[in-house]
Symmetry: C2
């Protein structure tokens, strides 16, 4: 890497990534309610129009920031069988949800989104669709290799896999622990594992 | 009913129910943030200590109110097979979530609970445990009659059944429509239906 000047595209990507990390750090410090494009611009040392050119709102910017950290820190390893890959991913997601900066910032965005349908739509479109799609890709591959039955309705299965554990996180103080993850995977594999056993 | 004086216990239950309905109506008018035990007492024409004697906080009172409406308006009919009963219940829950007074009041409580772990615990203990238990009772009965396999981990299955559809409701603007309910029930029945078919 040293000695080779980075290409303009690479420099652009690095600047974007830095801006998104600044956004997430600032959100963790001041909370969602205290966040603004102006404040991010000041902290990052860029003009606010530089940000407005690419992000229509602070919500869009923050959701891209969550998405960046989520998808770079959390991604299917494709190392094991489908159950093992899902399990590892869900346990890492659970850790992310229960730790700063993602946990509290994400929780605050979800709270805010309850009174703001536009933010709720943005949350799904800019962040959760990516997570659902990567889960759908992983289980579609497992269907192709014969680990999952051909009849499985994978699109909705991906939603169940991505969505179920939010119930614990948002509507109780119970942890998303190994037994919750295993319970969900037991049901998923009992439903769609190709031997109908797990 | 006419002519027969109600028993003291019956009058007490009727007064409690009226107080809970007043609480829910007031919450729908003023929002969760504007709600207080004092305001409920004024509206109901009772002393605030009458309320404090039975409910430690406005959150506890409101969650009992949600619970009352939820469990009296929504309850398993036990009319059909397990899939049909779950389906009817989930479609009615979906309607309740998308309509006033339950929908917006419940959404506001959930939003508030994100910054308040005590409220989150109360939400689960005073309201959701009842819903989970009634679902668990219904599927346990189906296991006894042989509609569901003996091996099913019903406790976690009840959580998946109760929890999954919140993902749509809280984290997107997609409706909890028939296809979502059917997708969830497809997975549940594929996993635990006694023939492993649905």
């Amino acid at each position: 890497m040293t000695g080779t000047p980075a290409s303009p595209r690479r420099r652009g990507a690095a600047r974007t990534e830095e801006l998104l990390r600044v956004t997430l750090d600032l959100a963790a410090e001041v909370g969602y309610a205290g966040l603004s494009i102006e404040a991010v611009a000041r902290r990052a040392g860029v003009g606010k129009h530089t940000i407005y050119r690419r992000w229509p709102s602070i919500a869009a910017l923050l959701l891209d920031a969550l998405s960046l950290v989520w998808t770079s820190d959390l991604d299917y390893r494709n190392a094991g069988d489908v159950r093992a890959d899902l399990r590892e991913q869900f346990l890492r997601s659970s850790l992310a949800l229960s730790s700063p900066p993602i946990g509290p910032v994400y929780r605050a965005v979800i709270a805010e989104a309850q009174a703001d349908p536009t933010l709720r739509a943005t949350l799904h479109e800019r962040f959760l669709i990516t997570v659902e799609q990567s889960t759908l890709d992983r289980i579609t591959r497992a269907q192709r290799t014969g680990e999952l039955t051909a009849e499985a309705n994978l699109e909705f299965a991906a939603e169940v896999l991505c969505g179920t554990l939010y119930y614990r996180w948002l509507l109780s103080t119970r942890p998303i622990d190994e037994s919750a993850v295993d319970g969900l995977l037991d049901m998923f594999m009992a439903a769609y594992g190709s031997s109908n056993q797990n």
